[in-house]
Subunit: 440 residues, 2 copies
Amino acid sequence: MEPGAAGDSRPAKPGPCVSGAALAASGEPGRRMPTVAAVLPAGGCGERMGVGTPKQFCPILERPLISYTLQALERVCWIKDIVVAVTAENMGVMERIVQKYQHTRVSLAEAGVTRHRSIFNGLKALAEDEPGCKLSKPQVVIIHDAVRPFVEEDILLQVALAAEEHGAAGAIRPLVSTVISASADGCLDHSLERATHRASEMPQAFLFDVIYEAYQQCSDYDLEFGTECLQLALKYSDTKAKLVEGSPDLWKVTYKRDLSAAESIIKERISQEICMVMDTKEDTERVGYLLEEVLKKELNNVKIVSGVRSHGGRDIQQITLPQCYNFVCVNGAASDFPETQQLLSVLEQSSLSILYPVVVVLVYFLDFKSVPLGQKMESLMWIREFAKEVKKRNILLCGLLICYPQDEQTLQESLKQGAAIIAALIKDRNPGLIGQLLVA
Amino acid sequence: MEPGAAGDSRPAKPGPCVSGAALAASGEPGRRMPTVAAVLPAGGCGERMGVGTPKQFCPILERPLISYTLQALERVCWIKDIVVAVTAENMGVMERIVQKYQHTRVSLAEAGVTRHRSIFNGLKALAEDEPGCKLSKPQVVIIHDAVRPFVEEDILLQVALAAEEHGAAGAIRPLVSTVISASADGCLDHSLERATHRASEMPQAFLFDVIYEAYQQCSDYDLEFGTECLQLALKYSDTKAKLVEGSPDLWKVTYKRDLSAAESIIKERISQEICMVMDTKEDTERVGYLLEEVLKKELNNVKIVSGVRSHGGRDIQQITLPQCYNFVCVNGAASDFPETQQLLSVLEQSSLSILYPVVVVLVYFLDFKSVPLGQKMESLMWIREFAKEVKKRNILLCGLLICYPQDEQTLQESLKQGAAIIAALIKDRNPGLIGQLLVA
């Protein structure tokens, strides 16, 4: 990915804001933020995707794409309302998404038959400044696509502030391919200078009155066949949009391959951190820290924190990172079911697994010579049934057995293989493997 | 994916041609195919990728991207030579790729400092029609990107034939984003009519003399800053290129996310078929066919063939599909190591795993009540060591235990879970899990 793109911004829980210091960071600390709302046209039917489901509703890790986009917008405190325009037939689907994934600032409007008509309906919902209506007319409105889930706060801020100043603003990107103009007989007429042209992307932002007036004045032809809001603002409100260079992660999920790419990015983002929970038994702790060392060496892009679980029931949340979706629990040979159950019920009670599947690997160190491996495995068969239970709450549970004690070199090899297994489980997050007992 | 895109064309082994009937399929059965060669500029440094490795050398399933592109071109019989232009520093890397993945029609030329200079060098290598030189000047030359691995024979044929007729031809695609022109102050000047513009993609094709003459005549400025070969043909050879609508899988691997997308597409393509090899013991065979039924039901997009392995050593190749990269071997309780070894050595001797990692799942049906599961697992621990051995030949080996006999309902559940495990192993192809004994 290009420098500055993605990676550093992990997905956040719904609700809490990532940054209130956005304006300060923009270099204009004295400036007052205008009131801002967002409109997301989501009435498309996804014909380019080649799948039955409209692309905004296609699942990524079992959650619809549009929920990721809403989450990205809700992370930004200063966006007060988000109006999503969906078709009448998808209204129920969308309501369930808003409820299930706890989106708090979302209102729904009915989509029109074209993109422009959907946006217009979204704007109308914001313009109806009636008493009792929870929406109020914002100074600036951001228009974004439901299928661009990786939008960052900085570009949203840039277009919003530029819109306040210029009346309109939009994100742009360099062209990936040369653009050409065809003659009537299907031959090359001319190719465009790549340096002077740009791809118009989303988000865009407008002074509300500028874009609302443009929509009220524009022709049916525009509403039917147009696609570019910046062009409407220019044509009907005489407003020249400020263009803002965006990062590559503004890209639009268009084809089926883009869904795969989005899934990879999301999986990578939620695999950046592992929380290790150590049993307090001294010997286990020691070998637990050896595993931690090997994990740090083998997965060198992953942040690993660890803490000791007290048997008095100290809350696991004191150990964990706020946005960590991966847990490795190191258990002594005597660790038993109730303790694990306690740990998992803490995870279940947190809202962690609402948005992403959480991976939990239960590691057992045991002496394959003194206790036959097979016997130990049989004693851990409860993990199989338990994994099915917690899967219902989006937790993916596996067991991992590592022989200990062993001579130093063999132990290092086992730990290395253990790290590779943990990495595989976290990277792929494949629910087909839950409940398995793996051996390193 | 759009209709007609990908999916139906599985990756092929190097060497054998997919189709000799291409011309017939093009609707011009009487037409004689011109002599055709291809030039691939591969001198880029991949700065947009944000990773150290130039993108054409980035690995997908451990094989460099450019090898997939070469494979796609080598599937097409009528492309006689493929000239790859690489930088001097990557010449050795490229030679090893050609050798390791058995590319047979590839010659190397030295890349220039820009894309146009690299292509020019590739053309020069074809123009040098000297005795002793294995390359000869073709009538038509195809220019393609090293980072567009999913090119299909039909579009190659279309541009080659159109080039023979018109002198030049290139693949185009509809624009995904609106293209705009910016004014000097960074504001919108105007947006282009999306309907009359197209993205110029690859492959392109030219009468050799047309493009070679254009390169010989063009200015240093063109060679330094230009990117569009069709434009050179227009400007210097007065040749208007025929534009040919391409499918979405012509897309160029540009960003890191595109590598993920490419990996997903490749994994999906090699996961379309499973070959089941049944042990001949009657009881195992019966339950093996039950598993086959469940697999067919659960993985309904996957083609599953099965056959019985004879103990006399009947060649497994008689059972397998020609391009199948997934094997499920159903073993009786008494099946032992030598038989499995025999099967795997047949796989190793085939060239199957040169291009893609091959997944082999050894399934054991056993009565958990009569033989304790743990004991059985211990007796199968040889799979762990054996898996490390065959991994060296790109074979990913796992074991899967399924309880049998069980009552009908429990058996169905076990088989369903077994199918989910097999699907997970095939889909993710994660080498971190080799040698594991999974339980359904």
